[in-house]
């Protein structure tokens, strides 16, 4: 067992998150101005937030489409036809572009967020699945399940710029928020590749649990989590030490992880258990197992931090979990066999 309680890099790295917004050395005049303007700004911001609620882009593998959910109302506002058997998704930070991997047509559909239409198609090797976008939106990374590489595309020209050899059956991809590193789970090698996101030079190869699939990085970039399908656990990695700090048991066939930094928790989809594990990172264990509608896969926290959205492959529905009550508070019918593997929530363009 790799499991170690109270090990370094667990809670500390996460709780440091909110503090980075405080500015201790702000000059007094600005401070006064901020205080005076704050109530008005807060109201304006609240109004703006309601109108600027983001969208979720849910890949429907069985119906070859993407359902667009408006997170202000939790209603499906559009359905976009894409390639064959779409699975992976990567939305840009601005919401202007959404990329969807189609394993059966061996390509990536490029969706314009504003018009919600497919504006391009990228041919990708043999088995495109995991997909991630650089935070600057300029580079797209696509894991190829069969060729054991990650293909890199320039999103301006839609041309391939690199093929990076990785481990066996690369599946999940993630970048740190600063865009310095690329993380790749190699499912059939039980490893996580850490690479330089620009030069693609290998930085580390880390042993995980058995058959790692999804990988998620904390907003401060200091921790990585892999969901390990065959050992039914989550590996926690300190990205500075490049070492495993903990392994936390979850339930049958964990698939992907979402991070709730404010509450120091992670949410893990357990495919075969039809549940989502809520892990308290301070305690290093599951504090609740939320029953969901069936075969949960892709999972993400909404930017306001209030809800977690979960795509349920068997149930053809997205479940909504309250991060406060940890109860199911919504169920949104989408297309057949929804997966939403990747970063599927983005601001409306």
């Amino acid at each position: 067992m790799l499991r170690r309680r109270g090990s370094p890099g667990g809670a500390g790295a996460i709780s440091a998150g909110p503090h980075r917004f405080t500015e201790p050395d702000q000059p007094p005049p600005v401070k006064r101005l901020v205080v005076a303007v704050f109530p008005v700004a807060a109201v304006l911001l609240a109004v703006r937030l309601v109108h600027a609620a983001p969208y979720a882009y849910i890949t429907n593998q069985g119906s070859n489409s993407v359902s667009v959910i408006d997170l202000a109302t939790d209603a499906v506002i559009d359905t976009i036809a894409v390639g064959n058997k779409p699975a992976g998704v990567a939305a840009s930070r601005s919401g202007d572009r959404i990329y969807v991997s189609n394993p059966e047509s061996k390509d990536v559909s490029v969706i314009d967020g504003a018009t919600r239409t497919v504006v391009g198609t990228l041919k990708v090797g043999e088995g495109p699945l995991g997909i991630a976008l650089h935070p600057d939106g300029a580079a797209l990374y696509v894991a190829d399940w069969y060729l054991n590489i990650v293909s890199v595309f320039d999103t301006a020209t839609l041309r391939q710029t690199a093929r990076i050899p990785v481990g066996k059956s690369p599946s999940g991809l993630a970048l740190d928020p600063a865009g310095k590193r690329l993380y790749v789970t190699n499912r059939d090698d039980d490893t996580l590749s850490v690479l330089d996101a620009r030069t693609f030079a290998p930085i580390a190869l880390i042993k995980t649990g058995k058959a790692p699939f999804g990988v998620t990085i904390t907003p401060d970039g200091r921790q990585a989590f892999t969901a390990n399908v065959q050992s039914s656990d989550v590996t926690i990695i300190d990205t500075e030490a490049l070492a495993v700090t903990d392994t936390i048991p979850v339930h049958d066939f964990p698939y992907a992880v979402a991070v709730d930094t404010a509450r120091n928790r992670i949410f893990v989809t357990n495919q075969h258990d039809d549940s989502v594990s809520v892990i308290d990172l301070g305690l290093g264990e599951e504090i609740k197992r939320v029953d969901v509608s069936g075969y949960p896969e892709g999972i993400a926290l909404a930017p306001d931090g209030r809800h977690v959205y979960v795509a349920n492959w068997f149930a053809n529905a997205v479940d909504v979990i309250s991060t406060e009550s940890l109860e199911l508070v919504g169920n949104i019918a989408v297309g057949e066999g929804c997966r939403a593997f990747g970063e599927f929530i983005a601001p409306r363009p």
């Binding site: 593998q61 069985g62 069969y146 049958d252 066939f253 075969h272 068997f314």
Partner: protein, 182 residues
């Protein structure tokens, strides 16, 4: 030159075949049946590790190890001693909710052309003396590499699983309502 053009046309004609070939994507099957018996009675007929041998027409014999979660069974299809076996393991068992899940741990393509097969059976009341049984499964085709041979593709997997479900659900209904599967 002429030869080259002809060759190119031949190559182009051959292309669609190569484009059609693809890697596996997960498939699903689901079947419901209404049975004229209370849910408790149906659950009782269903929950044993080897109950399936009582009601599934394709299952000749069943060898059980244990009960509930973690139990395993080896099904023999067709006739006893046919060698057509499926190894399965119960991964979840909930007496109160009248449901269990199981997975296939070993099967040959000739017996059932599937991979990573995981299934669930659920019994629910549907009125006073009626119940609804749901059988559902998620699985891949048998061939996990690119470009499957015929018989190990998605079509073969779906045909086989749907066949097992249809025969099984009809058999279960008949067994409970008449006391015999045949």
């Amino acid at each position: 030159m002429h030869k080259f053009v002809r060759f190119s046309i031949a190559a182009l004609l051959a292309l669609p075949v190569a484009v059609l070939a693809h890697g596996p994507s997960r498939q699903k099957a689901e079947k419901e049946v209404e049975i004229n018996a209370p849910a408790e009675a149906v659950w009782k007929a269903l929950k044993g590790t080897c109950s399936i041998a009582d009601w599934h027409p394709a299952v000749a014999t069943c060898e059980a190890k244990g009960e509930g979660k973690g139990a395993t069974r080896v099904l023999t299809l067709g006739e006893a001693g046919s060698g057509k076996t499926i190894d399965e393991e119960f991964t979840m068992f909930d007496e109160e909710k009248m449901t269990f899940k199981y997975k296939i741990t070993k099967v040959a393509a000739e017996v059932l052309p599937v991979n990573s097969y995981a299934a669930q059976m659920i019994v629910e009341p549907a009125g006073a003396a009626k119940s609804k049984v749901t059988w559902k499964a998620g699985y891949y085709r048998y061939y996990t590499q690119n470009d499957p041979p015929k018989g190990q593709d998605e079509e073969a997997a779906n045909t086989a699983v749907n066949g097992v479900f249809e025969a099984g659900m009809a058999g279960l209904k008949k067994f409970i309502e008449t006391g015999s599967k045949n």
